[in-house]
Amino acid sequence: MHILLLLHLTILFVFPPLLLGIIGKTKAFFAGRIGPPLLQPYFDIFKLMHKESVYSVTTNWIFMAAPMVSTAAILAAGTLMPLADFKPPIQFWGDMVLFVYLFALARFVIVLAALDTGSSLEGMGASREATFGCLSEITMFLNLTILALLSRSLSLSEIFLGGLSSSWLQVGPVLILVVVSFFLILLVENSRVPIDDPETHLELTMIHEVIVLDHSGIDLAYVLYGKAVKLFLFASMLVSVIITFRVHDFLIDTAFFFFELIVFAVLIGIVESTMARLRLNKVPYLLFSAFIFSIFGFTVILVRGGH
Protein backbone atom coordinates (compact mmCIF):
# COMPACT_ATOMS: atom_id res chain seq x y z
CA MET A 1 0.00 0.00 0.00
CA HIS A 2 2.75 2.44 0.92
CA ILE A 3 4.55 1.67 -2.28
CA LEU A 4 1.43 2.57 -4.21
CA LEU A 5 1.10 5.86 -2.39
CA LEU A 6 4.73 6.54 -3.08
CA LEU A 7 4.18 5.78 -6.74
CA HIS A 8 1.19 8.10 -6.80
CA LEU A 9 3.27 10.90 -5.38
CA THR A 10 6.15 10.15 -7.72
CA ILE A 11 3.91 10.42 -10.74
CA LEU A 12 2.39 13.59 -9.35
CA PHE A 13 5.77 15.18 -8.82
CA VAL A 14 7.65 14.00 -11.86
CA PHE A 15 5.30 13.55 -14.75
CA PRO A 16 3.56 16.94 -15.21
CA PRO A 17 6.19 18.92 -17.16
CA LEU A 18 6.26 16.17 -19.77
CA LEU A 19 2.72 17.11 -20.81
CA LEU A 20 3.95 20.56 -21.76
CA GLY A 21 6.71 18.96 -23.79
CA ILE A 22 4.19 16.85 -25.66
CA ILE A 23 2.00 19.85 -26.38
CA GLY A 24 5.07 21.67 -27.67
CA LYS A 25 5.97 18.84 -29.99
CA THR A 26 2.45 18.63 -31.37
CA LYS A 27 2.43 22.30 -32.10
CA ALA A 28 5.82 22.03 -33.74
CA PHE A 29 4.43 19.33 -35.99
CA PHE A 30 1.65 21.62 -37.17
CA ALA A 31 4.06 24.44 -37.72
CA GLY A 32 6.27 22.20 -39.83
CA ARG A 33 9.27 22.38 -37.60
CA ILE A 34 11.26 20.09 -35.34
CA GLY A 35 10.45 22.02 -32.24
CA PRO A 36 11.82 21.94 -28.72
CA PRO A 37 12.78 18.58 -27.23
CA LEU A 38 10.17 16.70 -25.21
CA LEU A 39 12.10 17.29 -22.03
CA GLN A 40 12.49 21.04 -22.61
CA PRO A 41 10.29 22.01 -19.63
CA TYR A 42 12.56 19.99 -17.35
CA PHE A 43 15.63 21.65 -18.83
CA ASP A 44 14.08 25.06 -18.30
CA ILE A 45 13.28 24.32 -14.68
CA PHE A 46 16.77 22.92 -14.11
CA LYS A 47 18.30 26.02 -15.61
CA LEU A 48 16.16 28.38 -13.57
CA MET A 49 17.32 26.65 -10.41
CA HIS A 50 20.82 27.77 -11.23
CA LYS A 51 20.03 31.41 -11.62
CA GLU A 52 19.81 34.18 -9.11
CA SER A 53 16.48 35.71 -8.20
CA VAL A 54 16.02 39.38 -8.84
CA TYR A 55 13.45 41.24 -6.78
CA SER A 56 11.94 44.60 -7.22
CA VAL A 57 12.38 47.05 -4.38
CA THR A 58 8.62 47.53 -4.39
CA THR A 59 7.89 43.94 -3.47
CA ASN A 60 7.36 42.34 -0.08
CA TRP A 61 7.68 38.75 1.05
CA ILE A 62 4.36 38.00 -0.63
CA PHE A 63 6.06 38.22 -3.99
CA MET A 64 8.72 35.76 -2.89
CA ALA A 65 6.43 33.34 -1.10
CA ALA A 66 3.63 33.26 -3.64
CA PRO A 67 5.24 30.77 -6.05
CA MET A 68 5.97 28.40 -3.19
CA VAL A 69 2.52 28.73 -1.65
CA SER A 70 0.75 28.27 -4.95
CA THR A 71 2.87 25.30 -5.95
CA ALA A 72 2.42 23.71 -2.54
CA ALA A 73 -1.33 24.28 -2.72
CA ILE A 74 -1.54 22.73 -6.17
CA LEU A 75 0.54 19.74 -5.11
CA ALA A 76 -1.60 19.37 -2.01
CA ALA A 77 -4.64 19.31 -4.29
CA GLY A 78 -2.83 16.55 -6.16
CA THR A 79 -2.95 14.34 -3.07
CA LEU A 80 -6.72 14.19 -3.45
CA MET A 81 -6.70 13.19 -7.10
CA PRO A 82 -6.63 9.54 -8.07
CA LEU A 83 -4.21 8.79 -10.90
CA ALA A 84 -4.82 5.67 -12.95
CA ASP A 85 -5.59 3.04 -10.35
CA PHE A 86 -3.55 4.71 -7.67
CA LYS A 87 -5.76 5.75 -4.85
CA PRO A 88 -4.88 9.20 -3.64
CA PRO A 89 -3.01 9.39 -0.34
CA ILE A 90 -5.85 11.28 1.28
CA GLN A 91 -9.53 11.09 0.59
CA PHE A 92 -12.59 12.17 2.47
CA TRP A 93 -16.24 12.92 1.98
CA GLY A 94 -16.37 16.41 0.52
CA ASP A 95 -12.75 16.63 -0.57
CA MET A 96 -13.81 18.07 -3.91
CA VAL A 97 -14.56 21.37 -2.24
CA LEU A 98 -11.07 21.47 -0.80
CA PHE A 99 -9.68 20.49 -4.20
CA VAL A 100 -11.22 23.52 -5.88
CA TYR A 101 -10.41 25.85 -3.02
CA LEU A 102 -6.75 24.87 -3.06
CA PHE A 103 -6.60 26.04 -6.66
CA ALA A 104 -8.35 29.20 -5.57
CA LEU A 105 -5.69 29.69 -2.89
CA ALA A 106 -2.98 29.19 -5.48
CA ARG A 107 -4.55 31.79 -7.69
CA PHE A 108 -5.13 34.22 -4.85
CA VAL A 109 -1.48 34.35 -3.86
CA ILE A 110 -0.22 34.59 -7.42
CA VAL A 111 -2.57 37.48 -8.09
CA LEU A 112 -1.37 39.20 -4.94
CA ALA A 113 2.23 38.63 -5.97
CA ALA A 114 1.47 40.25 -9.29
CA LEU A 115 -0.04 43.28 -7.58
CA ASP A 116 2.95 43.35 -5.25
CA THR A 117 5.20 44.51 -8.06
CA GLY A 118 3.20 47.68 -8.49
CA SER A 119 3.37 47.55 -12.25
CA SER A 120 0.37 48.02 -14.47
CA LEU A 121 1.47 45.13 -16.65
CA GLU A 122 1.26 42.64 -13.82
CA GLY A 123 -1.89 44.36 -12.65
CA MET A 124 -3.41 43.66 -16.03
CA GLY A 125 -2.51 39.99 -15.76
CA ALA A 126 -3.81 39.87 -12.22
CA SER A 127 -7.12 41.45 -13.14
CA ARG A 128 -7.61 39.02 -16.00
CA GLU A 129 -6.60 35.96 -14.01
CA ALA A 130 -8.86 36.87 -11.11
CA THR A 131 -11.82 37.68 -13.36
CA PHE A 132 -11.67 34.54 -15.45
CA GLY A 133 -10.78 32.44 -12.45
CA CYS A 134 -13.88 33.33 -10.51
CA LEU A 135 -16.07 32.68 -13.54
CA SER A 136 -14.56 29.28 -14.20
CA GLU A 137 -14.93 28.29 -10.57
CA ILE A 138 -18.72 28.19 -10.74
CA THR A 139 -18.70 25.87 -13.73
CA MET A 140 -16.11 23.76 -12.00
CA PHE A 141 -18.39 23.37 -9.01
CA LEU A 142 -21.43 22.65 -11.09
CA ASN A 143 -19.58 19.97 -13.03
CA LEU A 144 -18.32 18.40 -9.86
CA THR A 145 -21.86 18.46 -8.49
CA ILE A 146 -23.08 16.60 -11.56
CA LEU A 147 -20.33 14.02 -11.19
CA ALA A 148 -21.11 13.71 -7.50
CA LEU A 149 -24.76 13.19 -8.31
CA LEU A 150 -23.95 10.51 -10.88
CA SER A 151 -21.49 8.63 -8.73
CA ARG A 152 -23.28 9.35 -5.46
CA SER A 153 -20.09 10.38 -3.81
CA LEU A 154 -18.49 13.56 -2.61
CA SER A 155 -14.98 12.23 -2.75
CA LEU A 156 -12.85 12.61 -5.84
CA SER A 157 -11.29 9.21 -5.48
CA GLU A 158 -14.64 7.47 -5.39
CA ILE A 159 -15.98 9.56 -8.26
CA PHE A 160 -13.05 8.84 -10.52
CA LEU A 161 -12.25 5.31 -9.42
CA GLY A 162 -15.27 3.50 -10.66
CA GLY A 163 -17.94 5.91 -9.55
CA LEU A 164 -18.81 6.80 -13.10
CA SER A 165 -18.34 3.36 -14.64
CA SER A 166 -21.98 2.83 -15.50
CA SER A 167 -22.84 6.46 -16.15
CA TRP A 168 -21.63 6.48 -19.73
CA LEU A 169 -24.18 3.83 -20.60
CA GLN A 170 -26.96 5.51 -18.67
CA VAL A 171 -26.46 9.20 -19.24
CA GLY A 172 -23.78 9.40 -21.92
CA PRO A 173 -24.93 12.74 -23.35
CA VAL A 174 -24.67 14.34 -19.95
CA LEU A 175 -21.11 13.23 -19.59
CA ILE A 176 -20.32 14.54 -23.04
CA LEU A 177 -21.63 17.94 -22.00
CA VAL A 178 -19.68 17.79 -18.78
CA VAL A 179 -16.53 16.81 -20.65
CA VAL A 180 -16.89 19.69 -23.09
CA SER A 181 -17.50 22.12 -20.30
CA PHE A 182 -14.58 20.74 -18.29
CA PHE A 183 -12.35 21.01 -21.33
CA LEU A 184 -13.20 24.68 -21.78
CA ILE A 185 -12.50 25.26 -18.11
CA LEU A 186 -9.19 23.48 -18.48
CA LEU A 187 -8.24 25.78 -21.33
CA VAL A 188 -9.17 28.84 -19.33
CA GLU A 189 -7.56 27.78 -16.07
CA ASN A 190 -4.33 26.83 -17.75
CA SER A 191 -4.16 29.83 -20.07
CA ARG A 192 -4.20 27.85 -23.28
CA VAL A 193 -5.48 28.86 -26.71
CA PRO A 194 -8.11 30.21 -27.37
CA ILE A 195 -7.98 32.14 -24.11
CA ASP A 196 -4.32 32.87 -24.00
CA ASP A 197 -1.49 31.90 -26.26
CA PRO A 198 1.61 30.48 -24.59
CA GLU A 199 3.50 31.25 -27.79
CA THR A 200 3.03 34.98 -27.90
CA HIS A 201 5.10 37.00 -25.57
CA LEU A 202 3.37 40.35 -25.69
CA GLU A 203 2.65 41.96 -22.37
CA LEU A 204 -0.64 43.45 -23.38
CA THR A 205 -2.34 40.27 -24.52
CA MET A 206 -1.00 37.67 -22.15
CA ILE A 207 -2.30 36.30 -18.92
CA HIS A 208 0.03 33.44 -18.12
CA GLU A 209 3.29 35.27 -18.49
CA VAL A 210 2.44 38.84 -17.72
CA ILE A 211 1.26 37.89 -14.27
CA VAL A 212 4.70 36.54 -13.41
CA LEU A 213 6.61 39.06 -15.49
CA ASP A 214 8.84 39.98 -12.60
CA HIS A 215 9.57 36.54 -11.21
CA SER A 216 12.95 35.09 -11.89
CA GLY A 217 15.24 32.23 -10.98
CA ILE A 218 13.93 29.59 -8.64
CA ASP A 219 10.67 31.49 -8.12
CA LEU A 220 9.92 31.31 -11.81
CA ALA A 221 10.85 27.64 -11.78
CA TYR A 222 8.26 27.03 -9.08
CA VAL A 223 5.66 28.96 -11.01
CA LEU A 224 6.29 26.99 -14.19
CA TYR A 225 6.32 23.72 -12.30
CA GLY A 226 3.12 24.58 -10.46
CA LYS A 227 1.42 25.41 -13.75
CA ALA A 228 2.51 22.10 -15.20
CA VAL A 229 1.10 20.23 -12.20
CA LYS A 230 -2.15 22.14 -12.50
CA LEU A 231 -2.49 21.21 -16.14
CA PHE A 232 -1.63 17.64 -15.27
CA LEU A 233 -4.30 17.48 -12.57
CA PHE A 234 -6.96 18.96 -14.81
CA ALA A 235 -5.98 16.63 -17.62
CA SER A 236 -6.08 13.55 -15.45
CA MET A 237 -9.42 14.60 -14.06
CA LEU A 238 -10.82 14.97 -17.54
CA VAL A 239 -9.27 11.73 -18.71
CA SER A 240 -10.77 9.95 -15.73
CA VAL A 241 -14.19 11.24 -16.68
CA ILE A 242 -13.85 10.28 -20.32
CA ILE A 243 -12.35 6.84 -19.90
CA THR A 244 -13.91 4.95 -17.06
CA PHE A 245 -13.04 1.61 -18.59
CA ARG A 246 -10.62 -0.53 -16.64
CA VAL A 247 -9.26 -3.99 -17.31
CA HIS A 248 -8.35 -4.32 -13.66
CA ASP A 249 -4.82 -5.24 -14.41
CA PHE A 250 -2.62 -2.85 -12.57
CA LEU A 251 0.11 -2.53 -15.17
CA ILE A 252 -2.17 -2.32 -18.17
CA ASP A 253 -4.46 0.19 -16.51
CA THR A 254 -1.55 2.37 -15.53
CA ALA A 255 0.02 2.20 -18.95
CA PHE A 256 -3.33 2.97 -20.48
CA PHE A 257 -3.79 5.95 -18.23
CA PHE A 258 -0.51 7.44 -19.32
CA PHE A 259 -1.37 6.74 -22.91
CA GLU A 260 -4.64 8.64 -22.45
CA LEU A 261 -2.83 11.54 -20.88
CA ILE A 262 -0.42 11.71 -23.79
CA VAL A 263 -3.27 11.58 -26.27
CA PHE A 264 -4.92 14.33 -24.31
CA ALA A 265 -1.83 16.50 -24.46
CA VAL A 266 -1.69 15.95 -28.21
CA LEU A 267 -5.31 17.02 -28.35
CA ILE A 268 -4.54 20.26 -26.59
CA GLY A 269 -1.69 20.76 -29.03
CA ILE A 270 -4.08 20.28 -31.92
CA VAL A 271 -6.56 22.77 -30.50
CA GLU A 272 -3.78 25.28 -30.08
CA SER A 273 -2.67 24.74 -33.67
CA THR A 274 -6.04 24.98 -35.29
CA MET A 275 -7.67 27.85 -33.45
CA ALA A 276 -6.95 31.50 -33.19
CA ARG A 277 -7.23 33.24 -29.88
CA LEU A 278 -10.43 34.86 -28.83
CA ARG A 279 -10.50 38.54 -28.24
CA LEU A 280 -10.03 38.96 -24.56
CA ASN A 281 -13.42 40.53 -24.07
CA LYS A 282 -15.02 37.46 -25.62
CA VAL A 283 -13.53 35.06 -23.10
CA PRO A 284 -16.43 35.51 -20.68
CA TYR A 285 -18.73 34.24 -23.42
CA LEU A 286 -16.65 31.11 -23.65
CA LEU A 287 -16.89 30.67 -19.91
CA PHE A 288 -20.55 31.33 -20.06
CA SER A 289 -21.00 28.68 -22.70
CA ALA A 290 -19.08 26.23 -20.55
CA PHE A 291 -21.52 27.03 -17.79
CA ILE A 292 -24.47 26.56 -20.12
CA PHE A 293 -23.12 23.18 -21.18
CA SER A 294 -23.08 21.93 -17.66
CA ILE A 295 -26.48 23.45 -16.92
CA PHE A 296 -27.79 21.48 -19.89
CA GLY A 297 -26.13 18.35 -18.60
CA PHE A 298 -27.64 18.95 -15.23
CA THR A 299 -31.09 19.44 -16.67
CA VAL A 300 -30.81 16.22 -18.62
CA ILE A 301 -30.00 14.33 -15.45
CA LEU A 302 -32.97 15.82 -13.67
CA VAL A 303 -35.29 15.04 -16.55
CA ARG A 304 -33.95 11.55 -17.08
CA GLY A 305 -33.86 10.91 -13.40
CA GLY A 306 -30.33 9.60 -13.59
CA HIS A 307 -29.78 10.41 -9.98
Binding site: A28, F30, I34, G35, P36, F43, D44, K47, V54, L213
Partner: protein, 225 residues
Protein backbone atom coordinates in the same frame (compact mmCIF):
# COMPACT_ATOMS: atom_id res chain seq x y z
CA UNK B 1 -9.06 21.04 -39.47
CA UNK B 2 -8.68 18.98 -42.67
CA UNK B 3 -7.64 22.07 -44.52
CA UNK B 4 -5.01 22.76 -41.93
CA UNK B 5 -3.69 19.23 -42.20
CA UNK B 6 -3.71 19.43 -45.97
CA UNK B 7 -1.78 22.67 -45.95
CA UNK B 8 0.56 21.20 -43.38
CA UNK B 9 1.42 18.26 -45.62
CA UNK B 10 1.84 20.48 -48.63
CA UNK B 11 4.21 22.63 -46.61
CA UNK B 12 6.11 19.76 -45.07
CA UNK B 13 8.63 20.03 -42.29
CA UNK B 14 11.04 22.69 -43.43
CA UNK B 15 13.55 22.77 -40.64
CA UNK B 16 17.10 22.54 -41.91
CA UNK B 17 19.20 19.87 -40.29
CA UNK B 18 22.06 22.22 -39.59
CA UNK B 19 24.30 21.77 -37.60
CA UNK B 20 24.04 17.99 -37.98
CA UNK B 21 24.06 18.30 -41.74
CA UNK B 22 25.70 20.95 -43.85
CA UNK B 23 23.82 24.20 -44.10
CA UNK B 24 22.11 24.92 -47.41
CA UNK B 25 24.34 26.60 -50.00
CA UNK B 26 24.26 30.34 -50.07
CA UNK B 27 24.10 32.07 -53.43
CA UNK B 28 27.19 33.24 -55.29
CA UNK B 29 26.58 36.88 -54.61
CA UNK B 30 26.28 36.45 -50.85
CA UNK B 31 28.92 38.53 -49.13
CA UNK B 32 30.23 36.49 -46.26
CA UNK B 33 33.54 36.44 -44.46
CA UNK B 34 36.04 38.64 -46.37
CA UNK B 35 39.12 37.15 -47.94
CA UNK B 36 42.33 38.86 -47.06
CA UNK B 37 43.80 39.35 -50.49
CA UNK B 38 46.80 41.56 -49.98
CA UNK B 39 49.62 40.92 -47.57
CA UNK B 40 49.43 44.20 -45.74
CA UNK B 41 45.78 44.47 -44.83
CA UNK B 42 43.73 43.72 -41.85
CA UNK B 43 39.98 43.90 -41.93
CA UNK B 44 37.81 44.59 -38.92
CA UNK B 45 34.62 42.61 -39.42
CA UNK B 46 32.94 44.81 -36.87
CA UNK B 47 33.56 47.94 -38.88
CA UNK B 48 32.87 46.99 -42.49
CA UNK B 49 29.44 47.29 -44.05
CA UNK B 50 29.61 44.25 -46.34
CA UNK B 51 28.76 46.54 -49.22
CA UNK B 52 29.61 45.39 -52.76
CA UNK B 53 31.24 48.65 -53.87
CA UNK B 54 34.16 48.46 -51.48
CA UNK B 55 37.64 47.07 -52.06
CA UNK B 56 37.02 44.00 -49.99
CA UNK B 57 36.69 40.57 -51.59
CA UNK B 58 34.04 38.46 -49.90
CA UNK B 59 33.86 34.71 -49.57
CA UNK B 60 30.76 32.63 -49.24
CA UNK B 61 31.51 31.60 -45.68
CA UNK B 62 28.85 32.55 -43.19
CA UNK B 63 30.68 31.66 -39.93
CA UNK B 64 31.96 34.90 -38.52
CA UNK B 65 30.88 35.14 -34.91
CA UNK B 66 33.62 35.50 -32.33
CA UNK B 67 33.92 35.55 -28.58
CA UNK B 68 36.31 38.47 -28.43
CA UNK B 69 36.21 41.83 -30.07
CA UNK B 70 39.84 41.55 -31.28
CA UNK B 71 39.11 38.24 -33.00
CA UNK B 72 36.92 40.14 -35.44
CA UNK B 73 40.01 41.75 -36.92
CA UNK B 74 41.11 39.51 -39.76
CA UNK B 75 44.68 39.59 -40.79
CA UNK B 76 47.01 37.61 -42.96
CA UNK B 77 48.96 36.18 -40.04
CA UNK B 78 46.47 34.08 -38.25
CA UNK B 79 43.47 31.92 -38.75
CA UNK B 80 40.18 33.50 -37.70
CA UNK B 81 39.30 32.50 -34.14
CA UNK B 82 35.58 31.77 -34.25
CA UNK B 83 33.46 31.84 -31.14
CA UNK B 84 34.41 29.36 -28.43
CA UNK B 85 32.03 27.46 -26.22
CA UNK B 86 31.19 28.81 -22.79
CA UNK B 87 32.94 27.35 -19.78
CA UNK B 88 31.73 24.07 -18.40
CA UNK B 89 29.68 25.54 -15.59
CA UNK B 90 27.84 27.91 -17.91
CA UNK B 91 27.29 25.16 -20.42
CA UNK B 92 25.74 22.99 -17.73
CA UNK B 93 23.28 25.79 -17.05
CA UNK B 94 22.58 27.11 -20.52
CA UNK B 95 23.40 24.10 -22.68
CA UNK B 96 19.84 22.99 -23.14
CA UNK B 97 17.87 26.05 -22.21
CA UNK B 98 18.73 29.59 -23.10
CA UNK B 99 16.15 32.34 -22.99
CA UNK B 100 17.11 35.60 -24.59
CA UNK B 101 15.78 39.11 -24.46
CA UNK B 102 16.40 41.28 -27.45
CA UNK B 103 17.10 44.96 -27.09
CA UNK B 104 16.91 47.03 -30.18
CA UNK B 105 19.07 50.04 -29.54
CA UNK B 106 18.97 52.40 -32.44
CA UNK B 107 19.50 50.13 -35.41
CA UNK B 108 17.68 50.10 -38.69
CA UNK B 109 15.47 47.08 -37.95
CA UNK B 110 17.22 44.78 -40.40
CA UNK B 111 19.06 42.87 -37.67
CA UNK B 112 15.84 42.53 -35.69
CA UNK B 113 14.05 41.13 -38.69
CA UNK B 114 16.71 38.59 -39.45
CA UNK B 115 16.82 37.62 -35.80
CA UNK B 116 13.10 36.97 -36.00
CA UNK B 117 13.80 34.67 -38.91
CA UNK B 118 15.53 32.29 -36.51
CA UNK B 119 12.12 31.56 -35.02
CA UNK B 120 10.69 30.43 -38.35
CA UNK B 121 10.43 26.72 -39.03
CA UNK B 122 13.47 26.81 -41.31
CA UNK B 123 15.97 27.67 -38.62
CA UNK B 124 13.80 26.69 -35.65
CA UNK B 125 15.85 28.00 -32.79
CA UNK B 126 13.51 26.37 -30.30
CA UNK B 127 14.89 22.91 -31.01
CA UNK B 128 18.10 23.94 -29.26
CA UNK B 129 16.18 25.21 -26.27
CA UNK B 130 16.82 28.80 -27.28
CA UNK B 131 13.86 31.11 -27.07
CA UNK B 132 13.13 34.80 -27.02
CA UNK B 133 11.12 35.89 -24.00
CA UNK B 134 9.18 38.98 -23.03
CA UNK B 135 10.65 39.80 -19.67
CA UNK B 136 14.33 40.23 -18.91
CA UNK B 137 13.60 38.59 -15.55
CA UNK B 138 12.92 35.38 -17.44
CA UNK B 139 15.92 35.82 -19.69
CA UNK B 140 19.44 34.49 -19.54
CA UNK B 141 20.95 37.04 -21.81
CA UNK B 142 20.36 39.94 -24.14
CA UNK B 143 20.89 40.27 -27.83
CA UNK B 144 21.64 43.86 -28.65
CA UNK B 145 21.22 45.32 -32.10
CA UNK B 146 21.91 48.83 -33.29
CA UNK B 147 24.55 51.39 -32.40
CA UNK B 148 23.10 52.05 -28.90
CA UNK B 149 21.72 55.47 -29.63
CA UNK B 150 21.97 58.07 -26.90
CA UNK B 151 18.25 57.79 -26.28
CA UNK B 152 18.37 54.03 -25.81
CA UNK B 153 21.45 53.80 -23.65
CA UNK B 154 19.70 53.97 -20.31
CA UNK B 155 16.96 51.58 -21.34
CA UNK B 156 19.62 49.12 -22.42
CA UNK B 157 21.39 49.39 -19.08
CA UNK B 158 18.11 48.92 -17.26
CA UNK B 159 17.38 45.81 -19.22
CA UNK B 160 20.85 44.45 -18.58
CA UNK B 161 20.41 45.17 -14.90
CA UNK B 162 17.06 43.42 -14.84
CA UNK B 163 18.43 40.10 -16.05
CA UNK B 164 19.37 37.66 -13.31
CA UNK B 165 22.94 36.36 -13.17
CA UNK B 166 24.55 34.45 -14.76
CA UNK B 167 23.83 36.19 -18.04
CA UNK B 168 25.16 36.50 -21.55
CA UNK B 169 25.41 39.49 -23.83
CA UNK B 170 25.38 39.15 -27.57
CA UNK B 171 26.17 41.99 -29.93
CA UNK B 172 24.42 41.42 -33.21
CA UNK B 173 25.40 43.29 -36.34
CA UNK B 174 28.06 45.81 -37.21
CA UNK B 175 26.21 48.69 -35.54
CA UNK B 176 26.14 46.99 -32.15
CA UNK B 177 29.77 45.95 -32.45
CA UNK B 178 31.26 49.27 -33.48
CA UNK B 179 28.53 51.78 -34.20
CA UNK B 180 28.71 50.67 -37.82
CA UNK B 181 27.52 53.08 -40.43
CA UNK B 182 26.36 55.44 -37.69
CA UNK B 183 29.66 55.58 -35.85
CA UNK B 184 30.19 59.17 -37.03
CA UNK B 185 27.01 60.34 -35.42
CA UNK B 186 27.17 62.00 -32.00
CA UNK B 187 24.00 60.08 -31.18
CA UNK B 188 25.61 56.66 -31.51
CA UNK B 189 28.12 54.92 -29.30
CA UNK B 190 31.14 53.05 -30.51
CA UNK B 191 30.58 49.49 -29.66
CA UNK B 192 28.48 47.63 -27.15
CA UNK B 193 31.59 46.31 -25.42
CA UNK B 194 32.38 49.83 -24.31
CA UNK B 195 29.14 49.80 -22.33
CA UNK B 196 28.64 46.27 -21.03
CA UNK B 197 30.77 43.10 -21.29
CA UNK B 198 29.93 41.14 -24.42
CA UNK B 199 30.15 37.37 -24.79
CA UNK B 200 29.48 36.98 -28.48
CA UNK B 201 30.03 39.26 -31.45
CA UNK B 202 28.08 38.49 -34.59
CA UNK B 203 29.16 40.74 -37.48
CA UNK B 204 27.17 41.50 -40.60
CA UNK B 205 24.89 44.17 -41.95
CA UNK B 206 22.68 42.47 -41.05
CA UNK B 207 24.16 39.07 -40.17
CA UNK B 208 22.68 36.23 -42.16
CA UNK B 209 20.51 34.03 -39.91
CA UNK B 210 23.00 31.25 -40.43
CA UNK B 211 25.78 33.45 -39.10
CA UNK B 212 23.73 34.12 -36.00
CA UNK B 213 22.72 30.52 -35.56
CA UNK B 214 26.27 29.37 -36.09
CA UNK B 215 27.49 31.84 -33.49
CA UNK B 216 24.89 30.84 -30.92
CA UNK B 217 25.55 27.15 -31.41
CA UNK B 218 29.29 27.64 -31.12
CA UNK B 219 28.72 29.52 -27.91
CA UNK B 220 26.65 26.63 -26.58
CA UNK B 221 29.24 24.12 -27.69
CA UNK B 222 26.95 22.53 -30.23
CA UNK B 223 29.45 23.22 -33.01
CA UNK B 224 33.13 22.80 -32.34
CA UNK B 225 35.63 24.24 -34.67
Amino acid sequence: MLKILKTRFKQGCRTILFPKAKAPDLPQRYRGRPIIAGQNGSIDLGKIFFNPDSDIVYSNDYSMATSKREDLVLSQEREMALARALNERMLKIFGRSLKLRQVSAGGCNACELDLNVLNTPVFDLSRFGIQFVASPRHADGIVVTGPVSRNMREALLKTYEAIPEPKLVIALGGCAISGGIFSDSPQASHGLDTIIPVDLFIPGCPPHPLTTLDGLLRLLGRISS
